[in-house]
Assembly symmetry: C2
Homo-oligomer: 335 residues x 2
């Protein structure tokens, strides 16, 4: 393990993704990435009586499936690094109760999956605990209840609004070499350019993503072209455009098509989700399925993942506060 620059880490001791699994809702299953999920849920209550319990089931499914794919029993998992959007991260906390695995609760809003992978990779690469699972989930109905208006109101959504994905993703991180290495990571800072519109989260989060991206490149003394693709989650269509503008202002060598946003690609235009997907489960599910597939197939040799999270609550918004945001980065390399 080696610190590089101000806030970046090189996982020299070795941290590898040894298995991944993702579960998604019906709407996500009908989208362009539908066939990349391990399981599509047709009932958004998953047989429970509340959406929060359902999200916890979704989370549990992804973690269990990830362990199964790796050929490991749950009691062989050293720790679970995870969180979700619900107050007091109840989806992951209650799931951890059933799973019985040592649990490290994380919160980085929609960046939680990448925050958890970065932290988990430090534990694994340093030999503290291994293997670990990093996981995150979100559910459209729990997030609307948590952050916006009761679904029953049928409130109209503006074009900049993102659709919280009903999805969960889990990645096992191991010290034993596999074909996908977690090479480096960068910790984010809380950045706030005073956006107050909870229906325009991409605009609030883009500056935090730019800050972490610039910090990462500077800390590692590399340029954008080090990566075959820079994958964000989840800025949505408009947030992604803002990020590109911010990058182009600072860097002239920005190849077009370098950026890919998980949220902007989760649904088709016909699915009417406006700016695209969001939620902890969006980048978690897309990473654990689609992106892992692409790395394994050799579509990319090396990518940078930038998870982004909006760190407000309904209380802070009601108190007139703006939306502070954060972004964590990890790079994945095909070995």
């Amino acid at each position: 393990m080696k610190r590089t620059g101000e806030r970046s880490i090189l996982f020299e001791g070795g941290a590898y993704v040894s298995a991944s699994a993702c579960v998604a809702g019906k709407k996500e299953g009908e989208g362009p990435l539908g066939d990349t999920f391990d399981e599509i849920i047709s009932d958004d209550l998953l047989g429970t009586d509340t959406w929060e319990k359902a999200e916890s089931e979704l989370f549990k499914k992804a973690v269990k499936m990830c362990a199964e794919k790796s050929g490991k029993m749950m009691d062989e998992i050293g720790a679970l690094f995870a969180g979700d959007l619900n107050a007091q991260i109840i989806s992951s906390g209650f799931a951890a109760r059933e799973l019985g695995v040592p649990f490290v609760g994380m919160y980085g809003a929609c960046s939680t999956m990448i925050e958890s992978m970065l932290t988990g990779a430090v534990f694994v690469s340093s030999g503290a605990i291994t293997p670990v699972i990093a996981a995150a989930s979100s559910h459209f109905c729990t997030a609307e209840r948590q952050f916006r208006t009761p679904l029953e109101l049928g409130t109209q959504r503006p074009p900049s609004a993102q659709w919280t994905a009903t999805a969960a993703g889990a990645c096992m991180i191991d010290g034993i070499k596999t074909e996908i290495q977690i090479e480096s990571g960068t910790i984010g800072r809380v950045i706030d350019l005073k956006i107050k519109d909870a229906a325009h989260m991409g605009a609030a989060m883009a500056p935090a993503v730019a800050d972490t991206l610039f910090g990462h490149l500077s800390d590692l003394a590399i340029s954008l072209t080090e990566y075959d693709r820079i994958i964000t989650g989840d800025l949505g269509k408009y947030g992604l455009e803002i990020l590109k503008e911010l990058v182009k202002k600072k860097m002239k060598d920005c190849p077009s098509g370098l950026f890919y946003d998980c949220g902007a690609n989760l649904y088709s235009d016909e699915q009417d989700t406006h700016a695209g997907g969001s939620g902890c489960g969006c980048i978690a599910g897309v990473l654990a399925g689609h992106i892992m597939n692409q790395l394994k197939e050799g579509t990319y040799q090396k990518i940078l993942l930038l998870g982004s999270g909006a760190m407000m609550s309904v209380t802070s918004s009601l108190q007139g506060e703006s939306i502070p945001s954060i972004s964590y980065a990890i790079s994945l390399k095909r070995c």
Copy 2:
């Protein structure tokens, strides 16, 4: 860094507490530990217009003071590991926005301080990022709003209820040797014995503390008497009694007076807080002041800290769920 046993870590690379600071409210300042806080706040709004903003100010004060005491500027801090009880950890998130320091959001309810110290110690000891600050806060008024009933209702509290401390504590963790070493840590599991009474959190949390304590002793192949004192935070008076019962059932060599609960000692009987203090800020504030003083003075050579957290939310409680709990452990040694 070395893993030992199932879920424990020996910080062999070195993790030391290089500074600590704590700030507390008026009531806490009037209690038996009043003179151990660096600053007592007389105005529980700290000049802001909401309790949540006030808690964020309290948090910020503790972190800034901790950095000042260490002689470091804020931009020399590698990362801040922190959380609080508010939904989406807004107290620490908004404070991190002002502090400008790389931020790793954690959530372990009232165990957050020890969870953050354990995680921070892994980053420091492995050389990933150093120095770091671990911090946590709570505020009586934000917690009542978050978990119970509006304060304006004046709801009567049962004798088993704990009083959420208005307090914040911060500890700097460095790789350079100081007089206090973080020697080992143990990750908790989510344990739930189906307690549903949110006014009897100690009963819900005691089994999680026992589980982590037994795991710690077993992983390190040591006995209770390895430690001069085993410090919990925060079981309160009744929870502490339950923990002692659980320990005595399993271990015959349990010295009386070995256990000390931060919550049970934060207020005097005359202060009418019933079962004692609780909240992320309770163990954080007592650790950063009173306990650090005792270690420096040589009252103890080696102690075990067990933070305990109740991982429910108001939503899970309204949905009929019980209170799942977790506990993280770190041991501190006088060098």
